[in-house]
């Protein structure tokens, strides 16, 4: 009898708090966001309890479309650059000696221990007109006037790549790491040079890692707002900033909520693609 009660109570005690936490801080806010996106804004920065699709229609106007395109382009550029840097990076780590490997992976993880916003401030001090780089260049006589590096689109891209590179490298590193070394030997044995080995064997077999790395870079890059705020001076508007502005300054909550839902939908579609490719990986 007591055992029976115990059997029923134990699981509730074990997973209850976590479930409660998720409901309180994830599920309820999510439903709030969905709900608000279908309401009407009122003139005082709040919402009226009236059903409306206005926010969704507004998204189709040219101004908003321009922001979407700018965001999309930034995210694609970030992902491509992260891949171009990240793949060789991952390859070098995976092929370094067993002693050096844990250290190199640690170096890759190290930035995670410091708040991302603080790290971006670090870039700020490096790049600004009176920053370290400009000071060095001026004192060396390379330039007369400080270079305008901060508050440019290039600076935003740099910040994004810097922030998201580990997310690209780790899945690629894992896929290179688990590549069977005898496959490389087989390729050499059959006459392949190092370059051909990379193109014909290594790249195709690490495709799942490349795909996972791309998605893990692309998804957060769409939503990041503080990098473009802090390094781009909010000159170019991206979806992330737009959402933040709708809630904080423009006080158009339905619009902000609708944009957030758009991001969630895009993320879900990409995640679905990702799991599909993941299952392909198992088949190989």
């Amino acid at each position: 009898m007591i055992n029976k009660i115990k059997n029923k109570v134990t699981p509730v005690v074990m997973i209850g708090p976590a479930t409660f936490w998720l409901i309180l801080f994830l599920l309820i806010p999510l439903f709030l966001v969905i709900g608000i996106s279908f309401l009407q804004r009122n003139g005082y920065g709040g919402v009226d309890m009236v059903f409306s699709l206005q926010a969704y229609f507004d998204m189709l106007t040219p101004e908003y479309l321009k922001i979407f395109i700018a965001s999309f382009r930034l995210s694609v550029a970030t992902t491509v650059i992260c891949l171009l840097i990240g793949y060789p990076f991952a390859y070098v780590i995976a092929h370094s000696s067993e002693k050096a490997k844990p250290f190199l992976v640690l170096l890759l993880m190290l930035p995670f221990w410091i708040n991302s916003m603080i790290r971006i401030y670090g870039w700020n001090t490096l790049l600004r007109s009176s920053g370290i780089i400009n000071n060095v260049l001026i004192s060396l006589g390379v330039v007369d006037v400080p270079l305008e590096m901060l508050y440019t689109d290039g600076a935003v891209l740099l910040g994004m790549v810097y922030d998201l590179l580990p997310f690209t490298v780790l899945p690629i590193y894992t896929s290179i790491e688990k590549l069977d070394p005898t496959l490389l030997e087989a390729a050499s044995d059959l006459g392949a040079t190092k370059l051909h080995r990379l193109v014909r064997v290594v790249l195709p077999l690490t495709m799942p890692g490349i795909f996972a790395g791309s998605i893990q870079t692309f998804i957060p890059s769409l939503g990041l707002f503080y990098i473009s705020d802090m390094m781009g001076g909010a000159k170019t508007m991206y979806v992330g900033n737009l959402i933040k502005n709708q809630f904080m300054s423009a006080r158009n909550w339905p619009m902000g909520a609708a944009l957030a839902i758009l991001l969630i939908v895009i993320t879900l579609v990409l995640m679905r693609l990702y799991t599909k490719v993941g299952s392909l990986d198992d088949m190989v």
């Binding site: 069977d180 005898t182 496959l183 030997e185 087989a186 390729a187 050499s188 044995d189 059959l190 006459g191 392949a192 040079t193 051909h196 014909r200 064997v201 195709p204 077999l205 088949m283 190989v284």
Partner: protein, 392 residues
């Protein structure tokens, strides 16, 4: 020795060291064109390392490897005219059967039409028709093995290296593939260097067998030579079952030796031995005979311990008075002995083989000790002295 022209792979004093441990020691080997040579030995004996050095995956620490008279030290694996069949098959999982087989030809920039023709021919040769578009993950071990063989053979290598290629297959399939591989080799006339730890496989397939133990080549010869005339105790014990007995010569009667063992007297046919010499002899289980009555010149006595039924033969274990156990293979229709009865053990004098004289063994022990002393001295005095001692 063979004609120089016929030698396709030649290893001269090849040695390999991993972290200061020698896994291959002073290996000399000549592989003849068109032969099926097997490197046989227990795991860790250096046979796979030797194969990897010929393929180019591993550098020699010292010594030379020649392929068709040319030193291959500076050639990378992709520049050597040899191909390998890997133990794990190492098929490219992202390519189908056709693309896997064509891999080497694409690298050689063979025209597409010719590739197609040769791949089709190869697929027919290894009997994989109908599976052209399959991926490795969709095939059985035996089928994957055929793809691996086809992928290597299509390049028409001078030498095909096979690293325990049948190790992962079940017994029946393995036996079938052994014969198929042998026939394939005879048909194509390509030199095969085959690595295995399975002595039965080696005896079935090879033209010659090189038996390796602890990085040293103990004996090289035809399967018949290695089985019927093993030169060392190790070869006698590793290739086929054998009973090894320690004895000394009590009387020489022309080519017949009267010998004395701990457990009795025996007779043996071997020319060139002196009185009172210590020798090790090896008798195969199928050559040991049992009798209730004493045979002339034999007085080895033992007790039947057990009978093990093994299909076509019954393996009888006989314990001698000194505790040594002999394995005797007998036919089921032979006279039966109850477990526990005492019997006499004898053999045809020509069916016992001398595998090791005690002098040889003592010599080996002395040599080993001398090397150790040199090494200790070397470590004490100079780093170069240590290397010199290896060359002794």
């Amino acid at each position: 020795m063979s004609n120089v022209k016929d030698v396709i792979v030649k290893l001269t004093d090849v040695e390999k060291e991993f972290d200061g441990v020698k896994v291959v020691k002073k290996l000399n080997l000549e592989v003849r064109k068109g032969e099926f040579l097997t490197l046989l030995g227990p795991s860790g004996c250096g046979k796979t390392t030797t194969l990897r050095m010929i393929a180019g995956f591993s550098n020699v620490t010292s010594g030379e490897i020649e392929l068709e008279g040319r030193n291959v030290a500076d050639l990378k694996p992709n520049e050597r005219d040899v191909n390998t069949v890997f133990q794990s098959y190492a098929l490219f999982p992202h390519m189908n059967v056709e693309d896997n087989i064509a891999f080497g030809l694409v690298e050689k920039k063979v025209p597409k039409a010719e590739i197609k023709e040769r791949v089709a021919e190869m697929i027919k040769l290894v009997q994989l028709e109908g599976l052209e578009k399959r991926r490795p993950a969709q095939m059985s071990g035996g089928q994957k093995q055929r793809v691996a063989i086809a992928r290597a053979l299509i390049n028409r290598p001078k030498v095909l290296l096979l690293d325990e290629p049948l190790g992962a297959l079940d017994l029946k399939l393995r036996k079938q593939m052994q014969l198929e591989l042998k026939h394939l080799q005879q048909k194509l006339g390509i030199t095969f260097i085959y690595v295995t730890h399975d002595q039965e496989e080696a005896l079935t397939m090879s033209d010659r067998i090189a038996v390796m133990n602890d990085g040293v080549m103990e004996q090289i010869g035809t399967p018949d030579e290695v089985y019927n005339r093993p030169k060392t105790k190790f070869v006698a014990g590793f290739v086929g079952e054998s009973n090894i007995l320690e004895s000394y010569v009590t009387q020489v009667d022309e080519d017949l030796l009267h010998i004395s063992l701990e457990s009795g007297k025996a007779l043996l046919h071997a020319p060139g031995f002196k009185n009172e010499e210590m020798i090790y002899i090896c008798v195969r289980p199928e050559n040991l005979l049992l009798s209730e009555t004493k045979k002339e010149h034999f007085s080895i006595r033992g007790r039947i311990v057990e009978h093990v039924f093994a299909g076509s033969v019954i393996k009888t274990v006989v314990e001698l008075i000194n505790g040594q156990k002999l394995r005797v293979a007998r036919h089921p229709n032979e006279e039966e002995f109850e477990v526990g009865t005492y019997v006499y053990v004898y053999w045809h004098p020509k069916k016992a083989i001398i595998v090791h004289t005690v002098e040889e063994q003592i010599y080996n022990v002395i040599e080993g000790t001398t090397n150790r002393i040199y090494e200790q001295l070397g470590e004490k005095y100079s780093p170069s002295a240590r290397e010199d001692s290896h060359d002794q």
